[in-house]
């Protein structure tokens, strides 16, 4: 972690800086995993005429409207010993994933999926069929065309998806609360740490940590707005 610990430690205790480090780790791992999942998924959604398109699209958007408590509760049940995920992970020797870092990553991937898929899907759709057709006439194989034409052209969308996935994971609360278990270094992230501070009446600590979150979120959104303006400038 690149935070200056000497100045921070006067404001935040050890537990809070640990939570910040873990949150950044969770957001990084989740974002990388989301890009791996979201790029092919968004490509398929942007190209397919399959009758599965609508249901899959709805499924991907579902975490946007469901309360995090619903997601967290179902994940807790599914990852438990009688749940589908729990039985699979137990059978292959991983044990139960609830209350583990891996469990949190899975929860965060589902929670932030629409924030990764939608900007990329939109970027692919806005390219239109023409550049790909041109690539085909130049005898490019489909994978070639995808890698050398579609992917570079969708770069702004992928960048937006990356920023949003990261920021949304940092701001995640309800799902972590349900499947986390508040274990230091494993599942104790900034948002739940603020909750603990407030509940235990340590308002000064809560204020500092909350202020960091506000500054971070504002900076991310400002960056995003500047990026969008830049992109518009290029297009016009």
């Amino acid at each position: 972690m690149n935070l200056d610990n000497t100045t921070l430690s006067s404001l935040l205790d050890h537990s809070a800086t640990d939570a910040i480090a873990l949150t950044l780790r969770l957001a990084t791992v989740t974002t990388i995993a989301l890009l791996v999942i979201a790029i092919p998924l968004a490509w398929w959604l942007s190209q397919t005429r399959s009758r599965w398109r609508a249901p899959v699209s709805a499924l991907v958007t579902l975490p946007l409207v469901l309360p995090p408590t619903v997601l967290g509760f179902y994940l807790l049940v599914l990852m438990g010993p009688s749940g589908v995920i729990g039985q699979v992970t137990d059978a292959i020797g991983l044990g139960l994933l609830s209350f583990t870092f891996t469990g949190l990553v899975i929860g965060s991937i589902i929670f932030s999926l629409p924030f990764a898929v939608q900007p990329i899907q939109h970027a692919f759709e806005s390219i239109g069929p023409r550049p790909l057709e041109v690539a085909m006439t130049l005898r490019a194989r489909p994978l070639d065309a995808f890698l050398t034409v579609s992917l570079p052209m969708a770069k702004p969308g992928i960048l937006v998806a990356t920023i949003l996935s990261f920021a949304h994971t940092v701001g995640e609360f309800g799902v972590v609360l349900m499947i986390g278990g508040n274990i230091a270094g494993q599942t104790r992230v900034v948002s739940t740490e603020i909750y603990t501070y407030v509940e235990s009446m340590q308002y000064t600590q809560a204020h500092w940590l909350a202020a960091i979150m506000v500054v971070f979120s504002f900076a991310v959104l400002l960056w995003l707005a500047l990026l969008k303006r830049q992109a518009r400038g290029v297009l016009s």
Partner: protein
Amino acid sequence: MPIRNPSSTPGAIAFTTPFSIHLLLWWRLLLTATLALTMILAPGSSKATSGLNVAVAANFVAPALEISETFEAKTGIAVTISSGSTGKFYAQIRHGAPFDVFLAADSESITKLIDQGWAVPSDHFTYAVGQLVLWSPDPARLRDQETAVAVLKEGRFDRLAMANPLVAPYGAAAQDVLAHLNLATAWPDKRIQGQSIGQAYQFVASGNADLGFVALSQIIQSNDSNQPVRGSTWLPPQSWYRPLTQDAARLTKSMNPEQARAFLLFLRSPDAKAIMARYGYQP
């Protein structure tokens, strides 16, 4: 009431990305919800001033509901129960939440509220003492104190659920029991903390933890199925942990001081004590 059609918002077409569309959808939803809420709340808002609003710590909600029903039947005073964590209610009351009475899960938060002038010292007392219990869904697991202590000391469990000691009195009590057994920092990776005793119970009930420190009232009180909770339990000696005294007080901002006093008086009556005893609280 003039209703504006939100779909005619000018400038909506200027947004083109799906995200802006979503923002727009949310905005419409927000507008509709605000309109609906205004219509629902406006005529009924005067109703909230009659009757009592009682803030109740989550572990005591079931007996509090039964007590308030009996109280209502006797006095005709309507009681509305709000359930939540003591720390959250403390923060809300300090910022002017409109409760008449606060039934906390500890005594510190009430003492602090009195010091700051938010609660009335003359109407402050301990209404119940809770009991901590170690619970396993396995009926053969905790046969007696000896086996229970052995299970804890040898770490013969996958996950031990408890409430966060920083925020929940039952969590602090569980930590006391572990410290008494010289296990204060043992098994850090196997300890699962809930943000309330309700969450600790849920972790065991859903099978995600195979052992947990919960409140006796949770084991006794009827759950979903009205069946006694399955499994085995161990009640640690009460000298092993700080007393789980739960204090009540009337709040300074109460608009119904007479009715609030009547409710607090009833909370000390034999009728109320009998209900509490059934839920595993000591008077």
